[in-house]
Each structure stands twice: as structure tokens, then as C-alpha cells.
Symmetry: C2
Subunit: 238 residues, 2 copies
DNA sequence: TCCCCTGGTGTACGGCGTACACCTACTACC
DNA sequence: GGTAGTAGGTGTACGCCGTACACCAGGGGA
């Protein structure tokens, strides 16, 4: 019977299947345990079999990124540029939260993958359709940076670093140890305010979604202002 | 004589020396060739000797980050918050350009190193001294994200990815291949405008420094506006 | 019938981080 | 001066990694 199971051969590998298995593995076990060997084992196959479908591990990562980026929802057409861009970026953020390893993977790779280019192209198109000059659009895209793909690379969030496995326990208050608080009083002050829900609007710890939208709107509002005022690049005087 | 050279022993290792050698190695050869073995060889020592001074490779990386962050210039006192923050961030940017591997290293690590905390603490202090509420300061720090440490994690710059060795040849025009341009017309339009120096203000390719300051000022101006209007967090209505 | 081509296999190599036992030279103390 | 303890460099070895290369099964076309 084992023989029969052998015989009616498992659905054969394909680039598609390899990529999806890789994304699933990274989602569940963290990017640090995505090795060709582990991935092969998940697929019930010998490690070298993967190389018939992806050139090497780097190319595997590129493929995984494209899978993820492909999940981002296109903006509904007919809305104004600001709403369209905002909606799309928030959709990107949702996607990346399902794949916590992706931001770091994206940043550490070449970035010229087809899906990313398509995404950027479409976003640029939204600005252009909204009446932005090529010039302003260019700078705006730079200014949005990685946020345009839904992540902001905070300096704080200890979560999600280095691709932790899925839902780690969202850390409770975790008042920072007193010797730290003493050395860094200003940090302590903020941490304090953020964890006490006295009259502070912030509930338990930081509300990541709020912070993301705060920064996003700060940028979008600034951009809108530049656009309305017909901003054109002229190097600011020294 | 070899014996004598042996005998008057080389200056002994120290955490300090190990860290500086590691930074130098990463600067010159790229972070991908920073291995405990290579580093030991550079120091004329056997790999395991390093473990008497750093606990493991992760701790080595943390130490390297602290070395780099320690190079950031403190703002001259007595200036207004905006000038102080801006100056310091631009100083941070200079430092990180000397250590192209650092942004990725920083992002992939835990971030709670003493030097980083001290840096954040001092920056927060600048905002507070400028009259910002704890609340606004908190959000502002989030909004600045990694930019506060001098890097923006662009999606474009192919340079500097994954810690290339020092000065790679700054790529010439490099008009993107026509089949790409056809598939991604909006990207092509921008690339075109950026490389032609016709009447476009941008010289050859992108001016990274300009883009960085553009985004930085966009944020700082927006922040200033919030501050002046006495912004206080109240969740935006759905 | 034969051949080739697609795709899975097995073995092996060099590099990595690092555990662990060892040795050596120096310092402190009697 | 002798001895014990310790800080710091050494050597060996293990298990993991990516992947080169030779091989092989089986199915489809000539």
C-alpha cells in the first residue's frame, strides 16, 4: 500500500507549488527556518529536486516576494488619487501582515522583480492620472519609500523582526526595566504614556495601525499641499 | 626572529578591537563576507578566539551597530527643534553612508541596543524641549521611522542593497531595457525624466541626497504644522 | 524500437556558527 | 620562590547550509 501510495505519484512539483509552499513555510515557521532542505521535506521531495524549478535560493526569495505582492488588491477605479493611493497602501499593509517575513526579504533583495515593478507602475499611474507632474510624482514615490508597499520599518516594533513565526503573543505591558528607564528618561516617558491607558488615547502599548495611518496621512497631506500649490522642483537655496 | 615576532605578542584582542575590525571588514568587503572565520583571520587569530570577547555573531552585529550609531554627531544645543532634528538626521545619514551595510543590519536586529536607545532618547528630548506633547512626540517618532536614523529604505536604489562593497561604480544612465519600458510605461516615464538632464532639474539619475531631504522636509513641515495647531490625538472618525 | 528529455535522486564539497576540551602565560597570594 | 587560579588563545569536531554533478526512471515522439 505504501507502494501504491508511491505509485500514484503525488502531484508533481512546479514552480508555482514550490513558491506557495515556501511562502507557507515562512509564514508558519519564520523566514529563518526556510531552508532548501526544510522546504524540500515539506514537499516530500529531496532538496535538489527544487533546483529543477528555481535557479537558487535567491531566485526562490524573489518568487516568494512576487507571490506576496501579487496579493495586493488593486484600487477601485474612479476614485481620486489620494483615496486610491491610501486604500491601496492599506491593502498592501494587510497583505504584509499576513507575511511578516516579507518586509525584510523585500528590503534585502534586488527589488526589480516583475510584480514589484507592476505595482509601482500602477501606483505611479494613479498619481499621474491625478494630475501630478512627472517630477513631483518621482519625488513623491521616493518620499513614500517602503511605506508604499505597506510597511514603514519602524525602529520600535520588536515584533515581526527577523520574521518571527506567525502570531507571537502580542507582548503585554512589559514595562521596561527600571535601570533602562533611568538611563533613557524620555524613552521611558513615552513608553509609560503608551502603556498606561489612563487618559491617553492609546490603549495597550502602541497601536501599530494608528501609527501607520498617522504617518501615511502626514505624508499624503503634505503631498496634497505641494500638488495644490503647483510645486515644481527647484533646489532649495542653501 | 619569527620567534621574536611571536614573542612580542601582537596587541591583544579586546571587544573594542574586535568590533572595529568587524566594522572595517563589513565596510570594505560587504556584510555578506563578514564571517567569524574571516574576521578572525583579519585579526590574525583563530575563529574561536573571538568568542572570548563577543558572545556570538548576533551580539557582534549589535556591537557593530552601536559603534556606527556612536559616530552620529550630537546636535549643537540652543537651536530650535526643527533645525536640531534636521541636522542630526542628516548627520546620521552621512554616517550610514560610510557604512552601507548598517541599515539592513539595523533593521534585521532587535533594536534595543544601548547606543540606539540613547540616540532615540536624545532625539525625543529635542522634541519635548521644543514644546511637543508626549503624545505627539510619540507619533512623530513612529512617523519618522527609520529615517530618524538617517536611512529611508527606498524601494528604488539598487545600490547599497545587501551591503555592497564600498564605492561601487555609481551606475551611469543605464536606460532600462526596452521590453521593461514597454511593460511599465509609468516607471519608464520617470526613469526617462530622471536620466535626461534636459530641463529636468535632476542631474544624472536620482539625486539621493535631494530625495532624502525632500521626504524629510515633507515630514518635518507636516509635523511643524501639527505642532503649531496644537494637534492632539483623537482617533480619526471612520 | 530507440532515443531523448523532463524531473526526481544521491553523493559530496566547502563554508558557516559554535560547543567543548585544552593549553599557556600571567597575576595574586602565602 | 612556589603554587593556584584565571583570562585568553587554540584545535577539533558537529550539524547545518547552499548547491555542483553524475545518475536514473519513465514517458512521448520518430
Amino acid at each position: 500500500m505504501a507502494e501504491q501510495a508511491e505509485t500514484l505519484h503525488r502531484t508533481p512539483l512546479s514552480r508555482e507549488r514550490v513558491l506557495r509552499a515556501a511562502v507557507a513555510l515562512a509564514d508558519e515557521a519564520g523566514i529563518e527556518s526556510l531552508s532548501m532542505r526544510n522546504l524540500a521535506q515539506d514537499l516530500g521531495v529531496v532538496p535538489m529536486a527544487l533546483y529543477k524549478h528555481v535557479a537558487n535560493k535567491d531566485e526562490l526569495l524573489d518568487g516568494m516576494i512576487d507571490v506576496v505582492v501579487g496579493e495586493i488588491r488593486a484600487p477601485e477605479p474612479g476614485t481620486d488619487w489620494k483615496r486610491a493611493v491610501r486604500g491601496r497602501i492599506l491593502s498592501a499593509r494587510e497583505v504584509l501582515q499576513r507575511h511578516p517575513w516579507a518586509p525584510l526579504a523585500i528590503e534585502s533583495r534586488n527589488m526589480a522583480t516583475p510584480a514589484i515593478l507592476a505595482y509601482l507602475d500602477s501606483t505611479i499611474g494613479t498619481f499621474r492620472a491625478g494630475g501630478f507632474t512627472v517630477d513631483l510624482t518621482h519625488h513623491v514615490m521616493h518620499a513614500m519609500g517602503s511605506r508604499i508597499l505597506g510597511f514603514s520599518q519602524e525602529l520600535f516594533d520588536a515584533d515581526r523582526r527577523a520574521g518571527r513565526s506567525g502570531r507571537a503573543d502580542t507582548d503585554p505591558p512589559t514595562a521596561l526595566p527600571p535601570e533602562i528607564a533611568a538611563r533613557f528618561p524620555h524613552v521611558a516617558e513615552i513608553a509609560m504614556a503608551a502603556s498606561h491607558d489612563d487618559e491617553s488615547v492609546l490603549g495597550q502599548g502602541c497601536d501599530d495601525q494608528f501609527e501607520f495611518e498617522f504617518a501615511l496621512d502626514l505624508l499624503l497631506d503634505g503631498i496634497e499641499r505641494l500638488h495644490r500649490h503647483g510645486w515644481a522642483s527647484a533646489r532649495r537655496p542653501g
